[in-house]
C-alpha cells in the first residue's frame, strides 16, 4: 500500500513538474494542479497511512491509537482550498496575459 501511494506521488509530481516547465500557460496550470495533488497526498502520508481507522471520535472514550492522525488532514484541507484559489487566480492572470500579449506563452512572446 505504501509503495502504491509512493509511486502515485512520484508519477503525479513528475507529470506536474514536466508541465511546469512547458512554455504554454495552459500546460503550466494543469501542471500546477497535478503538483498540488502530489503535495496533498504527500502531506497526508506524513501522518502514516491508516485504513479503517475512525476519523470521527467516539464520545465516551478516546484512545488516540484508534483514530487517524487529524493534523495532516487539517493541513491538507486548507491546502485544497488554497489550491483552488490559486488555480482560479492563475487562470485569470493567464487570461489577462493572453488578452494583453495576444499569445499564451509564459513570457508573453512567441519564439
Amino acid at each position: 500500500m505504501e509503495l502504491i501511494l509512493a509511486i502515485a506521488i512520484g508519477v503525479l509530481a513528475a507529470s506536474g513538474v514536466y508541465l511546469l516547465l512547458r512554455p504554454r500557460t495552459f500546460q503550466v496550470i494543469i501542471g500546477l494542479s497535478l503538483v498540488s495533488y502530489a503535495v496533498n497526498l504527500f502531506i497526508l502520508a506524513m501522518g502514516r497511512l491508516r485504513m479503517d481507522a475512525a476519523p470521527i471520535l467516539d464520545r465516551s472514550a478516546v484512545n488516540p491509537g484508534d483514530y487517524t492522525d487529524p493534523v495532516p488532514q487539517a493541513l491538507v484541507l486548507t491546502a485544497i482550498v488554497i489550491g483552488f484559489a490559486m488555480t482560479a487566480l492563475f487562470l485569470v492572470v493567464l487570461l489577462a496575459a493572453r488578452g494583453l500579449t495576444g499569445n499564451d506563452h509564459v513570457d508573453g512572446r512567441l519564439d
Binding site: 500500500m1 505504501e2 502504491i4 501511494l5 509512493a6 509511486i7 502515485a8 506521488i9 512520484g10 508519477v11 503525479l12 509530481a13 507529470s15 513538474v17 514536466y18 508541465l19 511546469l20 516547465l21 512547458r22 504554454r24 495552459f26 494543469i30 494542479s33 497535478l34 495533488y37 496533498n40 497526498l41 504527500f42 497526508l44 491508516r50 485504513m51 475512525a54 476519523p55 470521527i56 464520545r59 488516540p64 487517524t68 487529524p70 493534523v71 488532514q73 487539517a74 491538507v76 484541507l77 486548507t78 485544497i80 482550498v81 488554497i82 483552488f84 484559489a85 488555480t87 482560479a88 485569470v92 493567464l94 487570461l95 489577462a96 493572453r98 488578452g99 495576444g102 499569445n103 513570457d107
Partner: protein
C-alpha cells in the same frame, strides 16, 4: 535627565523650544558633574532583551560628560546663532527639529552603555547629518554632498555594527562596563585584526580620516550653523570619541599603532596643506578640521597615556575655536554675501568686534601661546618628540608634526590676512557691518573660553579634563601639567619653528595662494571624483553586467533552476537519512487499480496539455478523482469531500476560461534539435523529481511516526471543542486563526479575480463568437436552436436547486461532528448557483435571482471576525469557542458551538468567493469587449454590474 533626552528627540518645535531644551540639558549636565566625580560612572539600565544582552543602558562617565557638555553647550550657542543666521524663507521648524534630533542622537551616542545601542545612535547621527547637509534640498550640490556623506558614514556605521557584534562576541557581553573591564582580552583574540579594521573603518569614515576625508568638504553645503555644530564640534568628533572610548581595551597593539598613528599623520599633513589652497573660507575650515582630527587620531594612535590625555584635551579645544570660526565665517557670509577669499579684504575696519574675535580664534587654531590651541598642540609636540625605538618612527613623527604645524600656521595667517586686512572692499551693493549683538554673542563666548583655557588652564578645564582622563585611563592616570610655560625644551622649539615657518611660507606666496583653488599636482586626483565613479559603476554598470550574466527574463529557466535546486537540496538532505528501505509489506489491489488509472491519467494529461486542452483537463480530473478516492480510502472523509467539490469548481472555472485561449492545432512534428534537447532535459528533471518524491515518501511512510501533537487534538477535541469531527474542530476552533487567514486569502483572491476581469481585454483572434455559440444562435424553423438545448437536464437542474441548498445547510450544521463543514457547504452552495447558470444561461438567472457575492464575502469575513472578537469581549483569547447542544424542532439535537457561527462565516465567504469568481468569468462571454489594442475610452459607461 535621561527621559528628557529621549523625549526631546522627537519633539518638533522652533527656536524657543530647541533653545530651552539645549540650555536645560546643558545646565543638567553641569549639575551632574559632582555625581560623576563621586561615582566614576553613572549607569542607568532599562532591560529590553536581557537574555540576549540587549539593554538600554545609559552610562555617563567623565569622558561622556565632557562630550555632553560640548554637545549641549555648543548646541545651545548654535541654536542662538542660527536664530539670526537662517533666512525667514527657510523652513525653520524643520531645521530646529533636525538640530534637536541630532543633539538627541549625539547624546545617545556618547551616553550609550551598550554596544548595540552605540551602533544605533551612530547610525542616527549619520542619518540626521544627511538631512541637515541636504537641508537646502533644492540645491544640487547640497543633495550630492548629503548623499556622499550618508554613503561614506553609513558604510562606516555598518562596519561599526559588525565590529560591535564581534567585540560583544569576544568579550561575551554587550555592556560597555564589561567590555571596558575586559583588559587585554580583545587584543589577544584571534578575531582582533578583523574587529580592529572594521572598527577603524567606522571611526575613520566618521572623523573624515584619510582616505575617507573627501566627504567633509562636500558636506559644507550645509547651512553654516550645521557646519559649526556637526562638522567641526560634534559629529565628526564621534569617530575620535569612539577611538578614545575603546582606547583602553584596543590600543595595545602594533596594528593599532601603525594604522591609527600614520592614518592620522597623513590626514594631519594633507588636511593642513589642502586648507592652504582653498578659496572658500568654509572649505579652508573644513580641511583644517580634517587636519585637526588627524592630529587627535595621531595622538590616540601613539598609545601612550599622555598622548591620550592630549587627545581628549584637544577634542575640547578644537571644538571651541573651530565652532567660533565657523560662526565668524557665517557672519562674514551673511554680511558680505560671499565666502570667497579673493573677494574679501579689509573687513576688520568694517567689523571690528567680529574681526578681533575671529583673529583670536584663528590664533588658537594656529597654536599661538596663551590660547587653548597652543596647550594641546604643545602636548602633541611633546608626545611626537618622545624617543621611539624604531628609527623611522622616531624621525617621521616629530618632523611630520612640525610640517603640519607650519602649514596650519600658514593657513591661519591666510584666513586672517586675506579677510580682515588689506585694502578695504570696493563699495558694492551692500556695505557689510557688524551683525546683531546676539548673533555675535555665541562666537564671542567661545573665543573668551579659548582665552580662559589658554591662560589659566588649571582652573578652567583642569578638573573636568582630569575626570575625562580618569574615565579613559583608569585611576592611575599619568602626571601631566597644564601650565603654559614648561621652560625651554624641544616642543617649544618645534612650536617656534612652526610659527615662524608658517609665516615664512605664507608671505612670499600670498598673492598666488589667494587665487589658487585646490592643491597643485594632486588636484586632479580628487577623492570625490573617484567616489562618484565607483558609486556609478557599482550601482549601474556592475549591476547591469551582473544581471546580464546571472539573470534571465524568461520564466522557464527560472522554474527549471528553482526545481533543480530544490531537488538538489532535497537529495542532499535526504540521501544521508535514507537508511534501509523495507520491502512492501502489503499490497492493496483496489488502490493499485485506482492509481494505475490515476497515474495513466496524469501522464496522459502531461502529454495532451499542449494541443488537446479539454482532453488534458478531463485527464487531470481523472488524477484528481484518484486522489479523492485515496483520501476516502485512507480514512479521511473530509478531505475526499472537499477535494471532490473543489475539483468540480476548478473544472467549471477552467472550462469557462478555455474559450479565450488561442486555437492550437497539432502540426507535423519537425522538431529542431534545440527543442528536442529542451524536452529531454525537462523530462529528465521531472523523472528525477518524481523518483525523489516517491523515494522520500516511501521512506517516510515505512517508518513509525514520531510522537506528534495529534494526540492532544484527539484527546481534547470533544471535551474542549465540543465536536467529534476532529479535523473540523481543529479548523474552526484549535487552529481557528489559520482558517481566518485562509478565508481572508480566499476573499482577496476572489476580489482580485473580479478586478482583473473588469479590465479584461481578449486577444483579437478570440473576440469573435466561437463556433458553438453561433450554432446555438441559428434560427431553425422560427425557433432558436438554443431554446431547445439541454431542455430536460435544465429542468432537472432547476428542480435540484432547493435540494442542493438543503444539502449545503445540512453539511454546514453537521460539520462539527461528522464530515462536512463550512468549506464543503460553501462550495456545494455555490454549485447550486452554477447549476442554474448552466441550465438557463446568465441572463435568465440574473433576471430571477439576486446574488451579491461581494456581500457574501464581506458578511462572511465579518461574522468570522466577530465570533472571534466575541471571545475577546468575554475575556478569552481570540477565537475561543463555547459550545452546547441545541434541540431544534424537527431536526433534533444539533451541536451549537460558537464555532458554528464561525463556520457560518467561512461558509458565507466561500459561497461568495466561489460564485464571484465563476460568475465574473462566465460574464465575459456575454460581454462584447473590445479587443486589446483598440482605442480605449478613459471612462467607460458601466453597462451592467459585472462589466
Amino acid at each position: 535627565m535621561l527621559a528628557f533626552v529621549f523625549q526631546a528627540r522627537f519633539q518638533h518645535g522652533a527656536f524657543t523650544l530647541t533653545g530651552t531644551v539645549s540650555g536645560l540639558l546643558f545646565v543638567l549636565t553641569i549639575l551632574l558633574f559632582p555625581q560623576v566625580v563621586e561615582a566614576g560612572a553613572l549607569v542607568y539600565r532599562i532591560g529590553w532583551i536581557p537574555e540576549l544582552g540587549l539593554n538600554l543602558t545609559i552610562r555617563m562617565d567623565g569622558l561622556a560628560w565632557l562630550f555632553c557638555v560640548l554637545i549641549t553647550f555648543i548646541g545651545f550657542l548654535v541654536v542662538l546663532y542660527a536664530r539670526y543666521y537662517m533666512s525667514p524663507k527657510d523652513r525653520i521648524a524643520r531645521f530646529y527639529a533636525l538640530l534637536l534630533a541630532f543633539m538627541g542622537s549625539m547624546l545617545g551616542l556618547v551616553l550609550a552603555g551598550n554596544l548595540i545601542q552605540l551602533a544605533i545612535f551612530w547610525e542616527m547621527t549619520s542619518l540626521v547629518s544627511f538631512l541637515l547637509i541636504g537641508y537646502w534640498y533644492h540645491r544640487s550640490d547640497a543633495r550630492d554632498g548629503a548623499r556622499m556623506a550618508l554613503i561614506v558614514t553609513g558604510m562606516g556605521g555598518l562596519a561599526l555594527f559588525v565590529a560591535m557584534v564581534l567585540v560583544g562576541h569576544i568579550v561575551g557581553s554587550y555592556e560597555l562596563d564589561v567590555v571596558l573591564a575586559s583588559g587585554s582580552m580583545l587584543v589577544e583574540s584571534p578575531l582582533y585584526p578583523v574587529t580592529l579594521v572594521l572598527f577603524l573603518l567606522a571611526a575613520f569614515t566618521k572623523s573624515a580620516q584619510f582616505p575617507f576625508q573627501f566627504w567633509l568638504p562636500n558636506a559644507m553645503t550645509a547651512p553654516t550653523p550645521v557646519s559649526a555644530y556637526l562638522h567641526s564640534a560634534t559629529m565628526v568628533k564621534a569617530g575620535v570619541f569612539l577611538l578614545t572610548r575603546f582606547w583602553p581595551v584596543m590600543s595595545d597593539s602594533e596594528l593599532w599603532f601603525v594604522i591609527v598613528t600614520y592614518g592620522g599623520l597623513i590626514t594631519l599633513i594633507f588636511g593642513a596643506a589642502a586648507a592652504l589652497f582653498q578659496r572658500d573660507l568654509k572649505g579652508l575650515l573644513a580641511y583644517s578640521t580634517i587636519s585637526h582630527l588627524g592630529l587627535i587620531t595621531t595622538l590616540l594612535g601613539m598609545g601612550t597615556p599622555l598622548a591620550a590625555v592630549a587627545a581628549i584635551f584637544h577634542i575640547a579645544n578644537h571644538a571651541t575655536f573651530k565652532a567660533s570660526l565657523f560662526m565668524a565665517v557665517g557672519i562674514i557670509d551673511h554680511e558680505t554675501g560671499t565666502r570667497d577669499v579673493r573677494k574679501l579684504s579689509g573687513l576688520l575696519k568694517l567689523m571690528p568686534f567680529t574681526g578681533t574675535f575671529a583673529i583670536i580664534a584663528s590664533a588658537a587654531m594656529a597654536g599661538v601661546p596663551l590660547l587653548n590651541g597652543f596647550l594641546s598642540k604643545e602636548m602633541f609636540f611633546t608626545e611626537t618628540a618622545e624617543f621611539h625605538p624604531n628609527v623611522f618612527v622616531n624621525y617621521s613623527l616629530p618632523i611630520g608634526a612640525t610640517i603640519a604645524g607650519m602649514l596650519s600656521v600658514a593657513y591661519s595667517v591666510k584666513f586672517v590676512h586675506g579677510v580682515f586686512f588689506g585694502p578695504p572692499l570696493a563699495p558694492g551693493d551692500k556695505v557689510p557691518h557688524e551683525p546683531p549683538a546676539l548673533m555675535r554673542r555665541p562666537m564671542e563666548l567661545l573665543v573668551i573660553l579659548c582665552l580662559a583655557v589658554g591662560i589659566i588652564p588649571g582652573i578652567t578645564i583642569g578638573p573636568f579634563l582630569a575626570e575625562a582622563v580618569t574615565a579613559v585611563l583608569g585611576p592611575e592616570k599619568p602626571y601631566y601639567s597644564l601650565s603654559v610655560w614648561h621652560g625651554f625644551n624641544l616642543p617649544l622649539l618645534m612650536s617656534v619653528i612652526a610659527l615662524v615657518g608658517g609665516v615664512i611660507i605664507y608671505i612670499p606666496y600670498y598673492r598666488q595662494l589667494r587665487d589658487i583653488d585646490g592643491i597643485p599636482f594632486i588636484n586632479r586626483l580628487r577623492g570625490q571624483r573617484i567616489f562618484e565613479r565607483l558609486l556609478l559603476n557599482a550601482t549601474n554598470r556592475w549591476a547591469r553586467d551582473f544581471i546580464k550574466i546571472f539573470g534571465t527574463q524568461r520564466l522557464q529557466p527560472q522554474i527549471f533552476i528553482v526545481v533543480a535546486f530544490a531537488l538538489a537540496a532535497g537529495g542532499f538532505a535526504g540521501w544521508a537519512r535514507m537508511g534501509n528501505l523495507p520491502l512492501p509489506s502489503s499490497f492493496d489491489p483496489v488502490l493499485g487499480l485506482v492509481w494505475l488509472l490515476g497515474g495513466i491519467s496524469a501522464i496522459a494529461a502531461a502529454q495532451q496539455a499542449k494541443f488537446h486542452r479539454l482532453a488534458a483537463m478531463i485527464l487531470m480530473g481523472g488524477a484528481g478523482l484518484a486522489t479523492c478516492i485515496t483520501f476516502a480510502w485512507l480514512s479521511a472523509p473530509d478531505l475526499a469531500l472537499t477535494q471532490l467539490l473543489a475539483e468540480i469548481a476548478t473544472t467549471v472555472l477552467i472550462l469557462l476560461g478555455l474559450r479565450w485561449l488561442p486555437k492550437r492545432l497539432p502540426v507535423a512534428d519537425d522538431l529542431t534539435a534545440k527543442v528536442r534537447f529542451r524536452r529531454l532535459r525537462d523530462v529528465t528533471l521531472a523523472l528525477l523529481v518524481g523518483m525523489g518524491t516517491a523515494l522520500a515518501s516511501y521512506a517516510i511512510m515505512t517508518r513509525t511516526a514520531p510522537e506528534g501533537i495529534s494526540d492532544y487534538f484527539l484527546k481534547n477535541a470533544y471535551s474542549e471543542g465540543g465536536g467529534t469531527n476532529v479535523v473540523n474542530v481543529m479548523l474552526v476552533d484549535f487552529r481557528g486563526f489559520d482558517t481566518m487567514g485562509e478565508i481572508t486569502v480566499l476573499g482577496v483572491v476572489a476580489l482580485t479575480v473580479f478586478g482583473l476581469l473588469r479590465r479584461f481585454r481578449p486577444a483579437e483572434d478570440s473576440v469573435g463568437r466561437p463556433e458553438q455559440q453561433r450554432l446555438l444562435d441559428n434560427v431553425d424553423g422560427g425557433q432558436r436552436v438554443a431554446d431547445d438545448f439541454l431542455r430536460i437536464p435544465a429542468l432537472i437542474m432547476s428542480w435540484m436547486f432547493p435540494v442542493v441548498i438543503v444539502i449545503a445547510v445540512y453539511m454546514l450544521l453537521r460539520g462539527h461532528d461528522l464530515p462536512g463543514g463550512g468549506f464543503v457547504a460553501g462550495i456545494i452552495m455555490s454549485l447550486a448557483f452554477i447549476l442554474q447558470y448552466l441550465a438557463h444561461g446568465t441572463r435568465w438567472v440574473e433576471d430571477r435571482l439576486r446574488i451579491l457575492p461581494m456581500q457574501w464575502i464581506g458578511w462572511g469575513l465579518l461574522l468570522a471576525m466577530l465570533t472571534g472578537l466575541g471571545a475577546v469581549v468575554l475575556g478569552s483569547p481570540f477565537l475561543t469557542s463555547a459550545f452546547t447542544y441545541a434541540d431544534l424542532p424537527l431536526i433534533g439535537k444539533v451541536p451549537m458551538a460558537t464555532a458554528l457561527i464561525f463556520d457560518l462565516g467561512v461558509f458565507a465567504l466561500v459561497v461568495g468567493a466561489t460564485v464571484l469568481m465563476l460568475i465574473a468569468l462566465a460574464h465575459q462571454s456575454i460581454r462584447r469587449p473590445r479587443p486589446a489594442g483598440a482605442a480605449r475610452p478613459r471612462l467607460r459607461e458601466e453597462t451592467t454590474k459585472w462589466n
